[in-house]
Symmetry: C2
């Protein structure tokens, strides 16, 4: 029985604009589920074993809504191009190497190890087109104890030969075999349908993926309105669509009946935002990537005001850093420059909002994840900030803020996912 | 005799747009001075002891042209305001604590230790108005082996009582005593005149500081054109000045006959840039701070094209991170958003340019510093990137680029300043 009590300082989001801070409190966990945070141990939980994390900070585990595992190897490299050139010059040649299983095995170890020691407990991951390498990644993620979705990527047009699936038909057959193998083998790591983006997917491929979605009840993920060149290209390829999002929606791969993540949404117009709202699409806000590839800055505070589902994403390797703490920093910083340089009507992102995106916002894609309230799965990271010197004691909110800017893997002291302690 | 040979992979800036990369080479150092990088040990240096850093990267030491030592304690905190409110709410109350020497002693240890283990070898530092605490900081910096300028801050108007010097006269007397004490006691750490900024300094104070400059032959440092509110305030306070820079120049505290650093220059107009050019003022480009305080982004590639002196600055605690590697990242990222959101006519900053700013650009304030060419002082950081996983070998330029995004103090393996090894 996976039941115990955690003692320490808890910080979580009550709403997008409000932190709930519980200094020196107790969190009973029953069968991996939170029972809420209390100043004293409630009578019915007395007798459960207590783990005391002292003065450290206990935060809900964070969700990375969009990350490319095969690009981890070249994070922080080739940051001198915009999206389409960057894909052709850096991303695609690297991804082609994953045809070789031994390369994938080695490279994915770096990714999984780094993800494990970050503040991330849940992630939705892009692999490559290669079924065997994708299963290898899932195997490694399964062993890590993290809870993840992984997508074998589909792409059958407008991409280099080395990364193009032969035909829609063979792509779909391979994808179905991969789905079946993944559903057989893994409990914590689940398949997610992953058409790369509209320019790289034929109509036949998209229609077939929708069939697979119905048959296997799978969510989907892709890219949306990241870069002007990309958006114009989609407009040419799909002239009948009212917006980029509609080019997915035509095939039923834009939320609605099945959960869906769309990365970026930097330049989404009102039509697209309406569709996102109506279909309950999750936006994976990827601030560092959107800076590095000079895409722009998504108006994320506006998305929160509109009541859209938004979470944070590292988008490695458009983003260099796999840390969602760093993504919080980049999200706040990017919103400030957007406010100063582009549009003072869209507010700057606050610490409270960034923390909400990192925990509740993205966590919601995985169910009741991202809080310590009764009924939520117990995902947590225990942060030790004793290495971050300060001559005087600091309040808990200040310690959280400081870690957004300064924490790295050394500060991640312990991690729980769905009630299981990973380290 | 401080003479030896360093062996390893050397990277340095040949021009703002060109890296000089010397894989597995030799750098003779005589009496702390570089003799250039050679593929083999030149005959006249044979016999000198060789230190082999293997496959690590050897970079010129970096210069932090603008950093507030007393603000180090609250880096990464209070990042929710613009400049003037931020000063009153966070910076000034913290700086007031340095009236107490025991607080200063403890707090400055955190700053000096962190600076020592960063890639910085030279820095120009703001202390507070307190002479004793400023000497304590200088004492600690002297012991560290870093080469620094430190300024006891002057401010006698428009600031809270707790941080206002009583009168221009007493401020100048205290400053002169501090200068004399510092010149007596320290070899590596030198005084620099530091009027905080025009709004906080009376005319009498500024005139007196110019007298001290003439008498003791000291450089000066201050802030310039960081934030719109600040700039408007200066316009009100100094209506006869043609620009903010001219408000310093009226008192002769804007370069020309003595070296001068001005931090920020985010919103400098053509008149001000002409004056900066004519007077040889060094611009301390502080990208992270300018983002965090929502000040904007200085058009730094334009400044390079104009042939201005520009270096990088952490500007802790407007900036959260003391690392000049991270400042390179922020400088590149900020330039991309400026290009995308504000003005496509000002080019994005390249890796080559950012590295130039971090080494040669800021180093020039300290003389022949920032290269390995013959006659330059031997400042170097030896970077070990073996913890940054990659499944295949990378070229040296790629390893440098990756470290800009991902290196931290763990990657700084060894450091030399003016020929002396600090660790």
């Amino acid at each position: 029985m996976n039941s115990f009590i955690i003692q320490g300082n808890f910080l979580e989001s009550e709403t997008p604009n409000k932190l709930k801070i519980s200094g020196q409190s107790f969190l009973p966990v029953e069968n991996g589920q939170c029972r809420g945070v209390f100043p004293l141990i409630p009578e019915q939980y007395q007798g459960l074993p207590v783990t005391d994390f002292g003065d450290r900070l206990i935060l809900p585990g964070m969700t990375d809504l969009h990350v490319h595992a095969p690009q981890f190897a070249f994070r922080g490299l080739g940051m001198d191009m915009e999206l389409l050139d960057w894909l052709n010059t850096y991303a695609f040649p690297e991804e082609a190497k994953y045809a070789e299983l031994s390369y994938a095995e080695k490279a994915y170890q770096g990714f999984v190890n780094s993800l494990l020691h970050s503040t991330t407990t849940r992630a939705s991951v892009f692999a490559t087109i290669h079924p065997e390498a994708s299963l290898e990644l899932m195997e490694q993620l399964e062993r890590s104890g993290l809870r993840t979705y992984v997508g074998k990527v589909n792409m059958d047009r407008n991409c280099p030969d080395m990364l193009r699936e032969e035909s829609a038909k063979s792509a779909l057959e391979q994808t179905e075999r991969w789905i079946q193998a993944a559903m057989d083998r893994f409990a914590n790591t689940k398949p997610i349908l992953t058409p790369r983006f509209i320019p790289a997917c034929s109509d036949a491929l998209m229609s077939g993926l929708k069939e697979l979605q119905r048959q296997y009840e799978l969510p989907s993920q892709s890219h949306l309105s990241e870069n002007y060149g990309e958006i114009n290209w989609v407009r040419e390829l799909s002239p009948a669509s009212s917006c980029y999002g509609d080019a997915y929606d035509r095939f039923g791969l834009f939320g609605g009946d099945h959960p869906c993540i769309m990365a970026h949404c930097v330049h989404s117009g009102d039509t697209e935002l309406d569709l996102i709202h109506r279909n309950g699409v999750f936006i994976a806000h990827s601030p560092e990537s959107n800076i590095n590839l000079a895409s722009g800055v998504a108006p994320v505070t506006r998305y929160l005001e509109l009541g859209l589902h938004v979470g944070l994403a590292s988008d490695v390797a458009g983003g260099s850093n796999i840390s969602i703490m760093q993504a919080m920093m980049h999200a706040i910083q990017a919103s400030k420059l957007r406010w100063r340089l582009l549009d003072e009507n869209v507010k700057q992102l606050t610490l409270e909002q960034a923390f909400y995106l990192a925990t509740v916002g993205g966590g919601a894609f995985f169910g009741k994840v991202g809080r310590f309230a009764n009924g939520y799965e117990f995902d947590a990271v225990v942060m030790d900030d004793s290495s971050l010197f300060h001559p005087q004691p600091l309040e808990l909110r200040s310690r959280l803020e400081r870690m957004v800017y300064l924490a790295d893997d050394r500060n991640v002291f312990a991690k729980y996912v769905a009630g299981a302690r990973l380290f």
